[in-house]
Amino acid sequence: MVLVLRRKGKTGAERMGRYLIWRAATAMAVVVALSALCFALLDLAPGSPAADILEARSGGRPPSAAAVTRLEHEMGMDDPLPVRYGRWAAGAVRGDFGVSYGSGRPVSEVLGDTVPWTLLLTLVAIVFSVAGAVLIGLAAALTRRAWLRRTIEAGMFVLGGMPGFVTSLLLLYVFAAWLQVLPSGGLSRPGEPVTLAVLLPHLVLPALALAFGHHFGTYVRLVETGVGRLRSAPHVENARARGLSRWTVTVRHLLRPGMVPFTARLGVGVGGLIAGAYATEMIFSWPGVGRQAIYAAREQDYAVLTAVVLVTGVIVIVANLLGDLAVAWLDPRVRLSGGGTHDVGD
């Protein structure tokens, strides 16, 4: 779906400003919707936190119904829905997500321990992914050898059918079990500081698995079609005729404008990467937020689960926003029309 807003701004900067405000406003609306969804989840979740707390206090004995009701009243759990949502949202804004049902630690502490690891993994994966997509996409778009193009196309098609965890298992088998050149996981041992020399080998496999998941084929195809469409565009022919070097023509006149659809998709793709990190983190026992979320879901620790959903959702929304801004920077038409193109992801 293409969403184009026409606004009458005077200058390019003014229009860019309007565009920024519009995008930020929609992003805020999505965050609010997401928080409502998270709260609904927390509210609908079976079981009562008050009962859990009482049970933990009394050492495993099931509490009486009266005691549960009393504590629920003290915790304000019988207030009307909007009041409870307001209180929860106010806490969430300040980073207070309550206490983990399972471990009793503050949820913010759990997040602080895990989110940086996931961000590190995702960022490295994005670098791998972009580098790979640009190289392979350029090769497919510019080569004159049909067999190379066909091979790339077929390879990307096969990759598109592989769930992230299958890619992870494949890499794990080849590099950790068969060749035995990289560790299979186990980065975090309690009490042992993680040095760079330990970190890097542990990072390679999960980052590769994440980068070349089933979204990678889409990226390559976007670079390929983006660049391929421009290959004989007038401005490129002109640049060649002026005698610019092959390198300059490729980078400045083919790659930069040709990257627009890819960049637009990449913002959406970050969501896929973070979601894909769930399985990857489990397989390589990476101490990130995805693994934490799976544990929380299995143990029905809804306090941690909703916080994870909210935080990763916000990260994804911010990434989408950055992707759209990058498109506006790359493509003057978006910037100057004051509207954005919004790509439908999967």
Partner: protein, 311 residues
């Protein structure tokens, strides 16, 4: 486009409006054939499409006739035959470390995985069509509401939402199907809506209104047929997507309950054996998932009129 073009010239209705009226009032009365629904053009000449069709048909048949193809119980453990390598007599694909026959588990797993994939895709497509139709035909505020909800859901990483839903609803087959459907109806709805709106203003549709056909009748006979090809393509991709999501959820231990074999469940249990040498307990279920998704994708892109990328 072919669907709409044929709709324009179709039927004797144009010449005999009285009969058209009669057909509306008495649905059982003489009614011209509906050419639109067969307008999905499969690129059947491509060998890849045939191969994909054969692979899928084989898998479906194998799932349906699983009890006839193997005499083993997929759940029963056999302590006398643990970790048998593939190719052994009696166990063509070997057994896992609990002595369960891998072929039997794959066949019964195909039942679960394909069932979940199909059921989720059907619910997704029907729900998406209904919501897209409502958005296109209903009042303005409803259109806005549905479109905005679709936008919000599209901007969230789906696996996270599915995970949260699955955790709240508890692990079961229904949970997986509903969670997948609830998080993947948006592309169908948006495409259906856009397609219906773009067709609503065409001449033959306005002519049908002028001839006195009811809104429902116009929708069924003139609008839906044109929307079928793009939606058929999305529907096929949704099947692949549903199978992928089911296997991922089950693999993470949040999908189909572990006592019921599914390809994702098989992989969860086998994962630990990868480093100890029983690679085949991982390789076969993983191959099943990948081959199914690839075959469905080939068929889907054969239906797709926009991109001709079928092998």
């Amino acid at each position: 486009m072919s669907a709409t073009d044929r709709s324009v010239v179709k039927g004797p209705d144009a010449e005999r409006p009285a009969v058209a009226r009669a057909a509306v009032e008495h649905p059982t009365a003489e009614r011209p054939a509906r050419p639109g629904f067969l307008a999905v053009r499969l690129r059947v000449r491509r060998p890849g499409v045939w191969a994909a069709g054969v692979v899928l048909a084989t898998l479906v048949l194998a799932a349906v006739f699983a009890p006839l193809l193997t005499s083993y119980d997929p759940i029963a453990t056999d302590t006398t035959a643990t970790g048998v390598a593939p190719g052994s007599p009696g166990h063509p694909l070997g057994t896992d470390l609990l002595g369960r026959d891998l072929l039997a588990r794959l066949l019964y797993g195909a039942r679960t995985s394909l069932l979940v994939g199909l059921a989720a895709a059907v619910i997704t497509v029907v729900g998406g069509l209904l919501l897209g139709g409502l958005a296109a035909a209903g009042p303005r505020w409803l259109d806005e509401l549905i479109s905005r909800i679709a936008d919000v859901l599209l901007s969230l990483p789906m696996l996270i939402v599915v995970l949260a839903l699955a955790a709240v609803m508890g692990p079961s087959l229904t949970t997986v199907i509903l969670a997948v459907a609830a998080t993947s109806w948006m592309p169908v709805a948006l495409v259906a809506r856009a397609e219906l709106i773009s067709q609503r203003e065409r001449l033959y549709v306005r002519a049908a209104h002028a001839l006195g056909l009811s809104r429902g009748e116009v929708l069924r006979r003139h609008l839906l047929p044109g929307a079928v090809p793009p939606i058929a393509s999305i529907a096929a991709f949704e099947v692949a997507h549903a199978i992928l999501t089911e296997s991922t959820l089950s693999f993470l231990g949040l999908g189909v309950p572990p006592n019921r074999p599914s390809w994702g469940n098989l992989l969860t249990e086998a994962q630990a054996h990868l480093l100890t040498g029983e690679w085949y307990t991982v390789a076969f279920p993983a191959a099943c998932v990948v081959v199914t998704i690839l075959a469905v994708n080939v068929l889907a892109s054969a239906v797709d009129r926009r991109e001709g990328r079928a092998w």
